[in-house]
Amino acid sequence: MNALRIIVLAKQVPDTRNVGKDAMKADGTVNRAALPAIFNPEDLDALEQALRVKDANPGSTITLLTMGPVRAAEVLREGLFRGADDGVLLTDRAFAGADTLATSYALSCAIKKIKDFDLIVCGRQAIDGDTAQVGPQVAEKLGIPQITYAEEIMGIKSGKIKVKRRLERGIEVVEGSLPILVTVTSSAASCRPRNSKLLMKYKHASTVSERQEKSEDYMTMINERPYLNIKEWSVNDIECDREQLGLTGSPTKVKKIDNIVFQAKESKQLTSTDSEIDELMKELIASHTIG
């Protein structure tokens, strides 16, 4: 009765915590291929919230949706290992170079194709852009309300969802009506680990592009177990206005990219010996910098 149809939006992101020198292309966009790719941390937190809703409402289903290159199917498998029911990869050159507005447009078109949903959950922001824009923009394009900065989905009852939000100076509990989009912040509970049974079940799940060079045995297996097929949609699979996609559909343009050069100062070098620390402290006190 209370079964809910949940969509989780996930992004595969370059691990910006470990950026090398060759990470940028000449046009100012990111060379994702040069970096380790991970499941965006807050999207993983969002998946956990969705899984908890599913646990509390038996019969609910979670569809994980991502947009990106073929290898972004990795995050879909990761989601299947943790309890998502289904994955959709939205991939096409036509989506490349999209800013947040063009991204949210493409995602909203894919969601319209998935069609029936009660709840969309996604991370507040992705670590490669930190913009926190795609969630609210998807909600606007679908004409549904949004609850951002969610720390916990407290419950869903008779079409109403109760959410605890984490704001700068405290918390706010809000109630909204389904369908709704919720963005989850990093103070939310971390995602559960992979489930070993699900790992065995979905280990060989793949998209059609990933299967191109696979053996016949593999193809036979896929045909026998349809759940191993991760949906892959191109621009031709969704109803959309192509003008609003990718670089063309992006109102923001990167004018230029600069490497950051800080004005290097003439630094005084000290060691940690008592006398050098004492001398520094004496100077700081004398100049009234401290004290």
Binding site: T16, D130, T252, K265, I285
Partner: protein, 339 residues
């Protein structure tokens, strides 16, 4: 027409600092562009607000006053902002990069199909030539922000869509009154023309707000720790030094991700920007995203066991050593030599 509109946040009857900072920046941009600076306030019992805004050089304050607006919720504020922008056609619209601005801004940008750049650290006016189309654009808003984990600085433009929208974090711009006697006008919006009942579907059931315990932004001394501090226990040493010196404790994003400190202490592009007279960076390597939030400190001391940490290049003093070794020595000397 084609002015600059700043969305001003009201928090418990007061204008948020970030809004004053945006008005200060907006005034400079409006002067450069020879257009007007306007403000939008949405809330309840707002009579005292416009006179506080005019001294920042605001020409028009649009006021949407209704008892249902006591606390911010997304949809009514979106409806008002979108409709007002459609009527007024501003060329630039600025929002604070707060939980409110980051909830509202993207929704407005989507509804207007115009670009929004988050967390700008600098806003300038400049021209742009699109060679491919042989097209010249005059007086665009350069939206400048660190990107990609803070490893580069990107200049973003919106050549064709209006308004050009940007969010800016609190503390990044400075606030400054331009003229206490500045004369602006008030435009009261007829709320019923801007919102519908459907905008109130999300209701606030409970609110627990605390006065912020942390006041890093205004502290004159900041002791900040990074991932190199190594543990939550070592981080306690920073708190000890801070309590001795009357300082606040800040942290880099890596330290917060590692669980050494709470989010409200984060210094950097996606946290707080500080300009203290003394900044002591402990075990902070100096990612650009961090440096952009503290580089204007008057004096910087870096304590790091890596003599090649990038932050050392902007430090006045570099102490090569460990936190466990250096900080107790600083505390000891200070206690012995001051009263």
């Amino acid at each position: 027409m084609n002015n600059i509109i700043v969305y001003c946040e009201i928090d418990e009857g007061k204008v948020a600092d970030v809004s004053f900072e945006l008005l200060t920046k907006g005034r400079k941009l409006a002067t450069d562009l020879k257009c007007k600076l306007e403000a939008l306030v949405v809330g309840t019992k707002l009579d005292a607000i416009p006179p506080q805004l005019f001294p920042y050089g605001v020409d028009t304050v649009y006021v949407a006053d209704d008892s249902r607006f006591e606390f911010y919720t997304c949809l009514p504020h979106t409806s008002i902002t979108v409709k007002l922008f459609k009527e007024q056609q501003p060329q630039i619209a600025l929002f604070g990069a707060t939980t409110i601005g980051r909830d509202l801004g993207p929704r407005v940008s989507s509804a207007l199909r115009s670009g929004l750049t988050a967390d700008c650290t600098s806003l300038e006016i400049g021209d742009h030539e699109e060679k491919r189309l042989n097209k010249e654009y005059k007086n665009l808003l350069y939206q400048i922000r660190p990107a990609f984990g803070g490893n580069i600085i990107a200049t973003i433009i919106n050549p064709d869509c209006r308004p050009q929208m940007a969010t800016v974090r609190e503390g990044v711009m400075q606030k400054e009154i331009v003229d206490l006697g500045y004369k602006g006008k008030i435009e009261k919006l007829t709320v019923a023309n801007y919102v519908s009942d459907a905008d109130f579907v999300v209701k606030i059931i409970e609110r627990h707000m605390e006065k912020s315990k942390v006041n890093i932004k205004n502290a004159s001394i900041v002791i900040a720790g990074g991932y190199g501090v190594g543990s939550k226990e070592n981080f306690q040493l920073l708190h000890e030094l801070a309590s001795v010196l009357g300082a606040e404790v800040g942290a880099s994003r890596a330290a917060i991700d590692a669980g050494y400190a709470d989010h409200d202490r984060q210094i950097g592009q996606t946290g707080i920007t500080v300009r203290p007279k003394l900044y002591i960076a402990c075990g902070i390597s100096g990612q650009i995203q961090h440096i952009s939030g503290m580089q204007e400190s008057s004096m910087i001391i870096s304590i790091n066991n890596d003599p090649c940490a990038p932050i050392n290049s902007i430090a006045d003093y570099v102490i090569t050593g460990t936190i466990e070794d250096v900080i107790p020595k600083m505390i000891k000397y200070y206690k012995q030599n001051t009263k």
